[in-house]
């Protein structure tokens, strides 16, 4: 698994050139962060590949246009991934609102949802879910978690950060991260329990 946390931060010289508007320096940043940013966004959007691609593109373009606001004395990865998470969560919220208030689709319509069953609870109880179906249910469950629970889950499981690193990244105490992870697992377990 490629995680920006497991790699050293970008060279200051590269960041300086990018903040001065050098597109080639920014291309190096794109190459380095394309996978982790896409993965983070993908997970926060519940595995919706189309939306993840659009939001990932948006993240990089927003970063490019707002690099002047980045403080070169601070590590780049947390700043950038926070921007990515915020945009993904905004997109998720917008999608939820669109679905809720859509005049074309009935409430609960999930036509843009990722792969996986639309309503796991509706499955016959005797039918045991396959591994892939369980994974889809977990992905969908993560995408429906409140942002403050979804972020630690994604950072812990996807980026492979430790509880301590997540606490630093989110600027909250370690205990808070543990509690959020615990409660997120409980919520996901409940969802999975209904599915199995």
């Amino acid at each position: 698994m490629t995680s920006p946390a497991s790699q050293p931060d970008l060279a200051r010289e590269l960041l300086e050139r990018a903040t001065n508007g050098d597109p080639e320096a920014f291309a190096a940043i794109v190459a380095r962060f394309e996978r982790p940013v896409h993965a983070l966004v993908h997970r926060l959007l519940g595995g919706d590949a189309d939306a993840a691609r659009d939001v990932t593109q948006d993240v990089f373009l927003k970063a490019w246009r707002n690099l002047a606001r980045y403080d070169l004395d601070r590590p780049f990865a947390p700043w950038f991934l926070k921007l990515a998470a915020n945009l993904a969560l905004n997109a998720r919220e917008a999608r939820r609102l669109r679905r809720t208030f859509s005049l074309d689709a009935p409430i609960g319509d999930d036509s843009r949802a990722p792969e996986g069953p639309a309503d796991p609870v509706a499955r016959p109880a005797h039918e045991r879910a396959s591994e892939e179906e369980l994974r889809a249910a977990v992905r969908q469950g993560v995408a429906e978690l409140d942002a403050k629970y979804a972020m630690p889950v994604v950072l812990f499981y996807l980026e492979g950060l430790s509880v301590k690193e997540i606490a630093q990244r989110l600027d909250v105490p370690e205990g808070t991260v543990k509690i959020r992870l615990h409660r997120a697992r409980e919520a996901l377990k409940e969802r999975l329990g209904k599915f199995q």
Binding site: F26, V30, A31, V138, Y157, V163, K189, E190
Partner: protein, 204 residues
Amino acid sequence: MKPHEDPAGKPPRDSTVTGDCDRVMARVQELCDARSEERPADPHLAECESCRVAAEAVLELHRLMMTEPYPDPAPGLADGIVATVRTDARRTARRARAVLVLVPAAAIAVAVGLTLSGIDLLGGGRELVGDALDLARVAKEGVADWPGLEALPRALPAAPSLPSLGIGLGPLVVAPYAAVAAAVLFVAQVAWLRSQRRTAGRVA
């Protein structure tokens, strides 16, 4: 607990849950947080089925999430982003050139044009200010001792106050200096743009 609920409001506690149950589940969460492969070995698990089921469910969920495949981006995503960024950079550079080069160049052109048309801005401005100061003094102290008395009927109706003269004539006095400053700025910006182009060439 529903995912969207704030779990600050805890669900009602099951009356059958004991301190042992809490201890076992806390241990399961600890193992997950530490990414440990160890299984919880607590005698309570052998006697409490609900704890056993709950612990298994959490560990299964943990396994699923730990082994979740890393989602790779669609091919061409990075290329598309970089192409957009390059276009954006070119547009920004064009705008910067327009602002940094064309504006001072236009100022110089105006100054040169005025000079060639015979308007001596520097001398004329000084003269105008001097006349205006004379007029203001006359308006204040009277005309008895003023040497330019014969010119008064022409000048007096137009005699303005000092501040309005300053505002009106100031730019005329400043214009030649601004033109010189614009020229210096122009040369500096051309040099800067050339150095930027050299840097971009080195990176490419």
